[in-house]
Amino acid sequence: MVERIEDLNLPNAVISRLIKDALPDGANVSKEGRAAITRSASVFAIFLTSSATALAHQQNHKTITARDILETLTQLDFESFVPSLQQDLEVYRQMVKNKKESKASKKEANADISSGPAVAEVPSE
């Protein structure tokens, strides 16, 4: 659970970088403006989560799914986000799948040691 309200803030450095990526060169955001964006982002996440949860509950689901979120985005009038998110999700799912497969093959390789150490990417977490 959240102990301090600061726990809900997103890291400043990351937000700054995201903003910088979104703006043309030479454009700037004032300190106050940046703080407002950071706050808004947290509230957006909360807002979207609770809206998606409500949608899931409506359909008698206990946990929210990726589909609930995408649907909620459309309802909240942010449908412009959906296409890029769908692409991201596809890449993410592929990555998870690959990870699983490489893990499985690693296990197999370990089972019969004769095949030598399996070359697998180090999980980045």
Binding site: M1, V2, D7, L8, L10, P11, V14, I15, R17, L18, I19, D21, A22, L23, P24, G26, A27, N28, V29, S30, E32, G33, A36, I37, R39, S40, A41, V43, F44, A45, I46, F47, L48, T49, S50, T53, K62, T63, I64, T65, A66, I69, L70, L73, L76, D77, F78, S80, F81, S84, L85, Q87, D88, L89, E90, V91, Y92, R93, Q94, V96
Partner: protein
């Protein structure tokens, strides 16, 4: 269909076509904390967490982009800097229906004497409203 009140400007198009990617910039753990603070049911799958993080990133960039568009539009030629200020953000929130949920998070700044004026108006206005709602709430048989 919800049509935004303000006409869509050509700047509405997404900034710099980004590549889809499974990498996130924002820390997942923090986004999870934020999500937990509102969810009544606990479980958050990794996929949902990922999607939510991406979503929040997009939102940050969307806000920044739109606010900058507004800044550029209001630039009055004479060497004003290309800086997005708080005022632009609060204007943006005020104008766009889908940002309504931020109205109290990014309120428009007002001067103290304006605020005091508002308080006074409210105080005299409240009693009027009460009278009206009292007479207006008659249910028909």
């Amino acid at each position: 269909m919800v049509e935004p009140k303000t006409p869509k400007t050509p700047t509405q198009q997404k900034p710099a076509q980004r590549k889809p990617s499974a990498d996130t910039f924002l820390p997942l753990s923090r986004v999870r904390t934020i999500m937990k603070s509102s969810m009544d049911t606990g479980l958050i799958t990794n996929e949902v967490l990922f999607l939510m993080t991406k979503c929040t990133e997009l939102f940050v960039q969307h806000l920044a982009h739109e606010a900058h568009a507004l800044t550029a539009k209001q630039k009055t030629g004479t060497g004003t800097s290309d800086t997005v200020k708080y005022e632009h953000l609060s204007q943006l929130v005020n104008r766009n229906k889908n940002l309504e949920f931020l109205l109290q998070i990014v309120p428009e700044k007002i001067r103290v004497h304006e605020f005091q004026e508002m308080l006074r108006m409210n105080r005299s206005g409240v009693s009027d409203d009460d009278d009206e709602s009292g007479s207006g709430s008659d249910s028909d048989e």
